[in-house]
Structure formats: structure tokens, C-alpha cells
């Protein structure tokens, strides 16, 4: 590993892929050998495939284990595709961690509703690890997950483990399913109506497609959760990751520097603005 990143946040250090797991057809989890790596749940790194480019990817591993830096990546563009095609032992550029993550301290003592859609479960996984590791610090813990189909469910084994916990409610739903699927089918917002939580004292963490987060935030608002307590992780094209370049500007905020996690109170007006 090159040590330069300590003094220049724009220069990636070189790490290596230690382990790789194919999660779905187009999704892979990379464990990166980066020495001791500390991050807050919800933060992201800039990952480089040398000769291809750099992309912002949320950390999806356990914040309590700094020896394992884990990213879960979906192949949607040239860089992310190249990242998912890296093999064990290959070099990878690493800058970070960046951004403001999930409000774990604010969540203490409250019911916590985590709503994830598709790959949005990956940036929420560190928060879930923290919630479960420090379970006594929180009220009810509810995880609601929406996916495209049963075949597209991310971290399926882990979801099953969490579903087996007596101190959490875990529900998944899919948009489309064959008749042999025995789970829920329908939009994830429907699960909110069924969930039991103390709305005035609840805090929500949302990550997924923007349109899903809008509907979920409104559904939570209808249940009585304050917009200031609904937190969303946003995604935009990020380049510098430190608020210099403006690529990820979203109205008055930069997603990389001021987020990626914001409250719905901060974003509601902006999300209603077309093509922003």
C-alpha cells in the first residue's frame, strides 16, 4: 500500500483485492486488503480500476471490524463493471472514507426503521451491523427490504439470519415473482403500513432508487415519522468526493461532502424538482 493518501485526499493509495464473492449475476462483493480501515456506517470510498476510472462505492462491511474493508458493487457502467471483474490479488485504487453517514447516535433510544431497495441494502448493511451489535441501545429494529425478484435479493443468507432474530422484524418483498415464491409480492411501501413502531420516537434510514425513497418517505410521514427523522442516502455522479468539483451538486448541497445521507426535511423540496 502506498501511504500518500494520508496527506492528499485526491491521491488514491493502492490496495489489493483479498477476497471476492459473486452476490448476484451483476453484483460482486470485494474485500480489500487496506490494512486497518475505520469508517462510519453510510460512508463511501472512491475506488479506482487503474486504466479504467474511479467510482464512488459505499462501504458494505462491518464497522466493528477494521481489518476487513468490504464493498458491494453492481455493474452498471464501465468502472463498476471493471470493479466487479477484478480478481483476487489485483490492485485497486482507494480514496476515503468520505461523506456523512447514518445518524447512529441520533438513533439511540429510538425505534429504527431501515428501508432498503435493491442494492440499497449494501450501504445500509454497516448500520444494521451496528444496530444488531449494540441492540440494547435501540428500541424496535425493523428492516424492510424490496427487490426486483426473488433472484435479485441481496445478502439472502444474512437476511434469513436477521429474520430469525427475536429482537428484530425483518420483511422482504419483491416486485415480480413466479408462483412458487412464498414470500411477499408488492412495493416496499406496503410493508410500512403493517410495521409496528412508535412513530413520534422513530428514526428511519432509507437507501434505494430515488423514486422508492420518495414514496417510502411519504409513507413514513403518513405514519407520523417527522421529516427530520427520515434519513436518505443519495447517489449522484461523484468525482472529487470532497466538494471541490461540483459534479454531485444537488441544488445547494454537494452529495459527497454534505451527504450522502441527508434528512427528508433537507431534501423534500429538491427531490420534487425535475431534472435536478
Amino acid at each position: 500500500m502506498a501511504p500518500m493518501a494520508d496527506h492528499d485526499p485526491m491521491i488514491p493509495r493502492v490496495a489489493h483485492v483479498r477476497r471476492k464473492q459473486r452476490e448476484l449475476v451483476d453484483v460482486a462483493t470485494l474485500e480489500i486488503d487496506a490494512g486497518e480501515f475505520f469508517f462510519a456506517p453510510g460512508q463511501f470510498n472512491m475506488l479506482t480500476v487503474f486504466g479504467v476510472g474511479e467510482a464512488a462505492i459505499s462501504v458494505s462491511g462491518d464497522p466493528a471490524d477494521p481489518s476487513r474493508l468490504v464493498h458491494t458493487i453492481r455493474a452498471v457502467g464501465a468502472v463498476s463493471r471493471a470493479l466487479t471483474e477484478l480478481s483476487v490479488g489485483e490492485p485497486i485504487g482507494l480514496r476515503g472514507p468520505f461523506g456523512r453517514g447514518w445518524p447512529m447516535d441520533e438513533a439511540r433510544g429510538r425505534d429504527v426503521i431501515v428501508v432498503a431497495g435493491g442494492l440499497g441494502l449494501a450501504p445500509l448493511r454497516p448500520a444494521l451491523y451496528r444496530l444488531f451489535a449494540e441492540r440494547e441501545n435501540y428500541g424496535r429494529v425493523i428492516l424492510l427490504y424490496g427487490a426486483r425478484s426473488p433472484q435479485d435479493i441481496l445478502f439472502r443468507d444474512e437476511l434469513e439470519q436477521w429474520r430469525g432474530r427475536l429482537d428484530a422484524e425483518v420483511e422482504a418483498t419483491v416486485d415480480h415473482a413466479r408462483g412458487d415464491w412464498r414470500g411477499n409480492v408488492g412495493v416496499v411501501t406496503k410493508l410500512i403500513a403493517r410495521a409496528v413502531f412508535d412513530a413520534p420516537n422513530a428514526l428511519a434510514m432509507l437507501c434505494g432508487p430515488e423514486i422508492m425513497m420518495r414514496f417510502v418517505a411519504d409513507a413514513l410521514g403518513d405514519r407520523g415519522v417527522a421529516p427530520e427523522r427520515i434519513h436518505l442516502s443519495m447517489e449522484r455522479s461523484m468525482k472529487c468526493a470532497i466538494g471541490w468539483c461540483g459534479h454531485c451538486q444537488f441544488g445547494p448541497v454537494f452529495i459527497c461532502r454534505d451527504g450522502p445521507v441527508f434528512t427528508y426535511a433537507q431534501l423534500r423540496g429538491l427531490l420534487a424538482t425535475k431534472e435536478l
Binding site: 426486483r148 418483498t173 415473482a177 409480492v185 412495493v187 423514486i211
Partner: protein, 154 residues
């Protein structure tokens, strides 16, 4: 028997807050129903003579596609209404409803409810206010499912 049903109808989330005289009108068209897991509440193409207020268990709404077999469109659970095709002509189910678990429901005679709605517009309007939200909700959910928000562009 009727008193018991009235209590059950009044306690169902779908009829929350319905005034007692209107609960009595609904209950006059209602009976209890049970379905073992795997049994069909109704089938595509059949006349929509009954619909169901689910009390226990989940139900899958399915379409049969020759290429893919049964496709689940939506699952419903306790507190929800199963079956909306009875609301508008030709009163025919356009999908199957299959119990995923052992299910209990209040079965409501659709023709009976339509008749009472015609006879008493206040009752009919109250029914319309109850059935419109799930209709709209399912329309909106279908739109979201159609645009494939978790697809590659998501």
C-alpha cells in the same frame, strides 16, 4: 351468529370506524370463510360473486402465463381486502387468488352489497370511500412495479 359477525366486521381494519347501522348492512351480506394453504379463493374468469376481507394468513394474486407458469402480482395479508373485480361490470375475476397459508376471512356476497349500495346511496358512498383507496394504491403500486425501479437504471 349475526352479532358475532357484526363484531368481526366492525373489528376488521378495512371497516374501521364504520358506524354500527352500516356495519349491520355489511354483516347481512357476510359469512366466515376459511381456506387451507394452497386453496384458491377464486379463479380467473369466474364470476366475482364474493370478495374477502382477510383476517389471517396471506393470499397471492396470480396470473397464469403459458410461458412462465403462475406469476404472482401481489400478496395480501390480514386487514386487507381480496378481490375488487366485483365492483364493476362484468363482475368477473381477472386473476387467481391463492392462499399461501391457512387463511381466515370474512366473505362478502358482492351482489348483496351492490344491491344495498344502490338502495341506500349513503351506504353506497361509504362503501365507495372504503374501496377506492386500495384501488388507487394498487394502481400506483402496479405503476411502480412496471417501471422496474430496481432495474439496471435504478
Amino acid at each position: 351468529m349475526i352479532e358475532g359477525l357484526e363484531h368481526i366486521v366492525a373489528a376488521h381494519a378495512f371497516f374501521a370506524g364504520l358506524e354500527p347501522s352500516l356495519v349491520a348492512l355489511v354483516s347481512g351480506c357476510a359469512k366466515n370463510a376459511r381456506f387451507e394453504a394452497g386453496k384458491y379463493l377464486f379463479r380467473e374468469g369466474e364470476s366475482a360473486d364474493w370478495f374477502y376481507l382477510l383476517r389471517e394468513g396471506r393470499v397471492a394474486l396470480e396470473l397464469r402465463d403459458p410461458a412462465r407458469g403462475a406469476v404472482t402480482l401481489q400478496t395480501l395479508g390480514p386487514g386487507e381486502v381480496c378481490g375488487l373485480s366485483w365492483l364493476a361490470p362484468p363482475y368477473r375475476w381477472s386473476y387467481d387468488a391463492r392462499a399461501l397459508d391457512n387463511a381466515r376471512a370474512i366473505a362478502i356476497d358482492a351482489a348483496c352489497l351492490r344491491r344495498k349500495s344502490e338502495a341506500d346511496p349513503r351506504f353506497g358512498y361509504e362503501m365507495m370511500k372504503r374501496f377506492m383507496p386500495p384501488l388507487i394504491e394498487r394502481l400506483q403500486a402496479t405503476r411502480l412495479q412496471m417501471i422496474d425501479i430496481y432495474g439496471a437504471h435504478g
